[in-house]
Symmetry: C2
Subunit: 407 residues, 2 copies
Amino acid sequence: MPDIDPERLLGDLYKLRTFGAYKTGVHRPSLSAEDVAARQWLVERMTEAGLEAQIDGIGNVFGRRPGAGRRILAGSHSESQNQAGWLDGALGVVFALEASRAIGNDSDGGVDVIAFFDEEGHFGSYLGSRSFIGEVSEAELDKARDRTHGKSLRDALAEAGYAGRRRITIDRERYSGFFEAHIEQGGSLEAAGLKIGVVTAIVGLWDYRIKVTGEQNHAGTTTMKQRKDAGLTLVRLIAAIDRRFREIAGPASVWTCGRMEFEPGAPSIIPGAARALFQFRDCDPEVLARLELALRQRIADANEAGPCTIAMDVIRQSAPAAMNEKFQRAIENAAALHAPNLAIRMPSGAGHDAQHLARIIPAAMMFVPSIGGISHHWSENTSDQDIATGARVFTEAIAGVLRGQNR
Amino acid sequence: MPDIDPERLLGDLYKLRTFGAYKTGVHRPSLSAEDVAARQWLVERMTEAGLEAQIDGIGNVFGRRPGAGRRILAGSHSESQNQAGWLDGALGVVFALEASRAIGNDSDGGVDVIAFFDEEGHFGSYLGSRSFIGEVSEAELDKARDRTHGKSLRDALAEAGYAGRRRITIDRERYSGFFEAHIEQGGSLEAAGLKIGVVTAIVGLWDYRIKVTGEQNHAGTTTMKQRKDAGLTLVRLIAAIDRRFREIAGPASVWTCGRMEFEPGAPSIIPGAARALFQFRDCDPEVLARLELALRQRIADANEAGPCTIAMDVIRQSAPAAMNEKFQRAIENAAALHAPNLAIRMPSGAGHDAQHLARIIPAAMMFVPSIGGISHHWSENTSDQDIATGARVFTEAIAGVLRGQNR
């Protein structure tokens, strides 16, 4: 049985935290100077671990375990959200590195390590993992710009020294599957006193832009009957959608109106236009379809009732990604050794690189607890003990899969 | 019977329109160069009309009809909203000037003319008319700043050359009352084919700021049960208030949520805070009180239900201002001569300087139709014929009051 080195593991996480340190978290957006330095450090750390490591043309850091035998690919992402947590992404990269070091290249196989570029979406949508499975065109890269400061991806890649390099794509034949560890980003494990989340599926995320067009007018001289109040129409629509979703949603469905704006936004002017962002998530394609139908029905009802006009655009509709059943059992078996009775199966409400890998090869995700359920904030944290336990389970799960395939 | 001169009247309105002309409207904010030039032109026009005219220490343009006999004060405001209409305010000032010219100083009395400063609230709340009734302190002037560009009122008054002048306050004994003409700013007259609105009362306007505090969190990993969604709580609150108001409002009540904002306003983040501006208006103090009670009850219910916390601040609660009944009949009698069967009694949904004068002396307001009901937009308009008809009715109504008081 492979054995991890908790001091080495935590030392690497602490070191990675120094690149772009911000309060107790990090500010390490994709292709910032700190992010580029962290990627270079990862190459060195992988090389020291006996991997053939390089950074490709889109900033993916890829470490290949030389030798014969089957391979598991493991990893996550190394950049952060702005002013965010130190473990989101970093934990999965260092877990993969530690698993690769602990397993080495025994007769059963070994572990390749990858730190995908820009899972956090500074420049686009999962550019690193989607590039790795051959899904990102040069045209998509030409158009990509950083959402915070607007710099083009091409310029940022050139400044980092990555421009002109080949983009590495997956060698499917090489891999038995993909493993990603991540912080839970929610409070379920902590609330239940559990240590390991065995992800069953990554939710599908359906995202919409809603716009109501009414008629801007004076809030004192326009009677209630004469009004075409775009703001009130939007408020009633979102309230109606929420009421209906509570009736028909699945047990794990979530829905969110994250933004609402009225135009012109003055106290004494009836809004002439109103906009909202609305999204919902579920692991079940049938539930997603049912929710969308209800959403469209509420809009149709409101349009028929008038007097405002509601239009809706789809921003994205990602398919739910099921995690491999055998891999889930491998994580449970490993947890039975290192965290007995402390693992639970659960869906992932957030998106991860694993959802793209899952379309090409069997994939697995494992969660460790987030203290207070906090995520995307610099105060995000996980205890050292939970990190070490997680790495033990993660490594043993991969080792179990490698052993199993040869028997 | 006094007779107005339509050519002189329209000529003055067209001339006033040239100060800050913007498309077919005007951009003449308080104490802009264009506004100061327009006030100077008004002094000259009043002087030509035989009035003793001056601009006081807050920019009120006041023209006093010399001689013996009782006086009616008439007027409105001469500045505009930003990029707004040519008649809002200007019409009432020129109607007053024309009435003063037409009536002159006969044995029954005469008309003083006033163009109040800043009814549109660039620097504060009805500063000109409130100063004229003795309600504005020096401390209030010290604090006032332009809401668009932030310049202090003191600096702006100094640049205009008005600083250091005395602020004129009303001589109550001199006046039988105050008359203001204005565009309707709504579409009721036009829709009914009518020409004259006899204002019964100016609505009370109650304005509130609502803030919901929840907990910002990840929109994918936080279950519906765990959430404290400030945005959704605000949406449901406003929808509940609207439902209740529809049950208990008066026939002329209006209510408006003119602004709504979620923080941080991102698609995948549960809003941790949400803010709205909410207001309602009615002429009946009992209705206003009933609506506020319902508003507070809905907030108390939502706070009891949790899990978010809702706080509300009062921005203003102006009292409804009843217009003088005898003056309303005087306008109706004048309309019977110049616009037979084309006048109707109606409340004013918008605030006007007359609401402040009404607290000191009997007051009247008269509306002319707004084409398409458009207001606070450069395309606001009224036909020349309706303007001339309105001026005839306005002048005859004032003359009727002056005649009546001596019989």
